[in-house]
Amino acid sequence: MDYRKEALPKVTIKAMNRLFHLFGDSARWISLVSWSAIIVALATALAPLAFILVVSFSEYHALGGGDGLIAEWLDDRNVNAMGNSLAVGFGVAVLLTVISILAALCFRWCNLTGHSTIYMLSILPLTVPDYVFGVAGRVMFDPSVGLFAEWLPDSLLFDRTSALLMVVAITILKWLPLMIVIADAAIFALGSPIFYQTMVDFTRFRRAVGLVFLPQLGKATALIASLGFLIGFRQHELAYELTSSGAGFDAEMWSNRNYRVIFEFAGVARAAADGLLALGVLFVPIRLIHMATSWYLSNEE
């Protein structure tokens, strides 16, 4: 059956024709469910964006006009908060990507790829909220009362560098299992015949990694990096619990914490202005990751 509607993009018609060719009329529900999913996703994305834009620009006189908006963005506290959040975002993105890919390759070497235990256990940290991870990190690493206090330097969590590093470390502790699952699933998608073929073709695992597994992991790398960055950027609850009595790491020192506090104190226009700036800044690294993925795929094709 031909699936022809002029309003739909050509690729969609082509894909639907393929599904109808394979399954006949019963493929119609796939299209319905998929369109619903896309509409929901777009609505979820555009509603808050529109809210932030409308409030920022229609009510920006509440900040004293355009100058007030810019002054808000250039405020030292906002700049520091943005810097801290970005540093954690980049740190988490890089380390999560590297460690999860190495772990997935180790699982492949040990023939554990796709092991159901790995997937099942990865849910466990996700059931624990971020702030609880912050509290648990404090219980372990607080230099005065933590479980490992006697082996830790006194300045840990008190100077900015060590505080940021600890936030990165605890965030990775929470999100590493999920990212390992993503990397492992990317390798698992190759399927058993390819695994056997690589064992036959390559006597050294290192050559199989370079020629088969790393290229396959390329797409997952973009996913892990972008998720890692966004997850790291918004760890304000974990960071606040972990570093709240550190050297000035209070509510003003995490970008999205600022937003939450300002919003809750009914400073809607200021909160929206802060959110707008953060969205603009976040767009740059995400766009870079997107471009890198597109470049990788264009080479692949």
Partner: protein, 211 residues
């Protein structure tokens, strides 16, 4: 001998993975059982011992009953959100598997970015707007809908990226075996992506916690 060594390393690696995954839950359990002056002691109105900890699961006081209720609610939310998002995301993966690779990834990535970028900044305005609407849905439904909304594009993108090729292969095979689309989806889910879907669905419960 070499394969024996590899098997030992595999066991060690799995144990390391389990240690990483369970570090924080174990720390929390240890704190609850051993450390005085923690919230749990206040909640249980007595010293924290193994018996008092177990009372959380079989005690009759208001505090203990509300703890069990919260636990049950979390499990129901997680199960429902994981089921709905897995179904929607699998349909999307099957649908997009017929697209050219570059276009499908680009669209999926855009959906993911569009939703995740403002997500940090959306929950409070959305809750604020919902509270001002004349019709107030039950809180449980509001939370579940929000959880589905925040996790759906992530699941759809991730499932397509991680299982799209596999879904395409299986769709072709199941069509040869005369399965309909529902049968093909069933086979595809059984063959693996459901694991990933459930993991991301559980993440949805956690993301919902930011509300």
């Amino acid at each position: 001998m070499r394969s024996e060594g590899r098997r030992l390393i595999a066991v060690a690696l799995l144990l390391l993975y389990i240690a990483i995954v369970s570090t924080v839950p174990m720390v929390l359990l240890w704190v609850a059982l051993k450390q005085p002056g923690i919230d749990l002691q206040v909640a249980l109105e007595g010293p924290s011992t193994f018996e008092t900890f177990m009372r959380l699961f079989n005690g009759t006081s208001t505090m203990e009953e509300s703890f069990r209720l919260a636990l049950k609610r979390s499990l129901v939310y997680a199960t429902l959100v994981a089921s709905i998002t897995t179904l929607l995301a699998t349909a999307y993966a099957l649908w997009a598997s017929g697209w050219p690779n570059k276009r499908a990834i680009s669209i999926s990535f855009t959906l993911l970015t569009l939703v995740l970028l403002p997500q940090t900044y959306l929950v409070l305005p959305m809750l604020g707007l919902l509270q001002e609407t004349p019709i107030q849905p039950p809180k449980a439904i509001t939370i579940m809908v929000l959880e589905c909304l925040v996790v759906l594009p992530l699941s759809a993108f991730a499932l397509y990226l991680l299982a799209g090729e596999h879904a395409r292969r299986l769709a072709n095979n199941t069509a040869l075996d005369s399965f309909n689309a529902l049968g093909a989806a069933h086979v595809i889910l059984r063959e693996g992506p459901i694991n990933i879907g459930i993991v991301f669905g559980s993440d949805g419960r956690q993301r919902g916690a930011i509300t």
